[in-house]
């Protein structure tokens, strides 16, 4: 489509991508952002963000992302609202396709983030949208006075469970271990909540229901005992997988599929940088992603300078 060559092309529009865009735009690199279908990333699926510095009263996730987007646009970031479908990092300038549209770029920042993971048990996919969900803020509304289960043991599981208490009559957290890995504050909030109960040491083996979720088949991992548990909905918060399928054969990935970086945000291809949850399986915070996005923009700017 275009014959022009971008200085910096950013893939993804979460905190990492948008922070990279703000920095690259302010460095006069006129970045082009392919924001993707999941515009704004995982924060679009959250409600209150209480740990992003600078917002003493918290801020809604979608509002935070809208603000970052406006800030990126204010300094001249151009935004394409589609998913990248193919890349060629073997060629230079790099080639990035969005369906039939081809973009050339001197440097690329990959910040495609991670997506919610599914259990992969029988019934789960069939009942998606009929009681199985990975987005409490989207779907909790439909479960007023119903009984729900949340699977997971991290902060996002606690957040989902707490959010769902606004609608549900009872929320049961099902966790495969005997303690949560969630932060202390979130664990206490969940455990102290009168509507929340916990089933420890237990995994979901099957989602039951003909047209809608009616229950779960559970297995106690210590005793092996199987039970059926009646619920009207199942919400998943069992972590994330990095969105790297488009880059799989082009960049070095680790065993879990995350992009491997060295010396800051450099990937295995010179001129291609990566930032945020697509790299980071340790911290996975909005603020750490934003920090890495800033690093990637600075790394890209310096690298472009070295090329001339």
């Amino acid at each position: 489509m275009t014959d022009s060559c971008e200085k910096v092309l950013i893939v993804g529009s979460g905190p990492a991508g948008l922070t990279a865009a703000i920095y690259a735009a302010r460095a006069d690199l006129a970045p082009l952002m392919i924001e993707g279908m999941e515009r704004g990333g995982q924060l679009m699926l959250t409600t209150d963000v209480e740990n992003y510095p600078g917002f003493p009263d918290g801020i809604m996730g979608p509002e935070l992302m809208d603000n970052m987007r406006k800030q990126a646009e204010r300094f001249g970031t151009r935004i394409v609202s589609s998913d990248v479908t193919q890349v060629d990092f073997g060629a230079y300038p790099f080639k990035v396709w969005v369906n039939d549209d081809l973009y050339h770029a001197e440097s690329v920042i990959v910040s495609t983030g991670a997506s919610a993971r599914w259990l992969g048990v029988p019934g789960e996919e069939r009942l998606r949208g009929y009681g199985v969900s990975a987005c409490a803020t989207c779907d909790g509304f439909f479960f007023r006075d119903k009984e729900l289960a949340v699977v997971g043991g991290g902060d996002s599981a606690m957040e989902e469970a707490l959010f769902l208490t606004k609608f549900a009559s009872k929320v049961t957290i099902i966790h495969r271990r005997d303690e949560f890995r969630a932060s202390k504050i979130m664990t206490h909030r969940a455990l102290d909540h009168p509507k929340i109960e916990v089933i420890w040491d237990t995994t979901v083996q099957e989602v039951l229901g003909d047209k809608e979720v009616t229950g779960l088949r559970l297995e106690n991992v210590k005793t092996g005992e199987e039970t059926e548990f009646a619920v009207d909905g199942l919400f998943l918060a069992i972590g994330h997988t990095p969105n790297t399928s488009v880059f799989g054969d082009q960049l070095d990935l680790d065993d879990a599929g995350y992009i491997v970086v060295h010396e800051g945000t450099r990937t295995s291809v010179e001129g291609v940088f990566a930032a945020g949850d697509v790299v980071d399986h340790t911290y996975r915070q909005a603020v750490t992603a934003a920090g890495m996005g800033c690093q990637a923009a600075i790394d890209a700017e310096r690298w472009l300078d070295e090329q001339t």
């Binding site: 279908m37 998913d83 949208g129 009929y130 803020t137 989207c138 439909f142």
Partner: protein
């Protein structure tokens, strides 16, 4: 909100989807992030397929009776109606290209 889409509510819904021309109904809400991703693809589809496909927006927050009647439990949910009958259902956000592929039968 837009020139090319139709806004339905509990009172007007059954009349709006009664046509033999297919109606694509977007069940959405203000607080749903993935629903917002659908705004642009649906708007473009509505403009390009005018006369072949009617794009209808239904706010589930304000119109819970219709959402419940069709057992919507997750949004965005897109349902195609023809002659008042549900003929296809898509749950979850999609790109415009995906929509065109999945709705090909109704876009001819």
């Amino acid at each position: 909100m837009s020139a090319n889409t139709v806004t339905a509510d509990d009172a007007t819904f059954s009349q709006i989807v009664a046509d033999s021309t297919p109606s694509l109904v977007d069940f959405w809400a203000e607080w749903c992030g993935p629903c917002k991703m659908m705004d642009r693809p649906l708007e473009e589809l509505a403009a390009e397929k005018a006369g072949k496909l009617k794009v209808v927006k239904l706010n589930v927050d304000e119109n819970q009776a219709t959402a419940m009647q069709y057992g919507v439990m997750s949004i965005p949910t897109l349902i195609v109606f023809q002659d008042g009958q549900e003929v296809k259902r898509l749950v979850g956000a999609r790109s415009k290209a995906q929509l065109e592929t999945e709705l090909a039968d109704f876009l001819r």
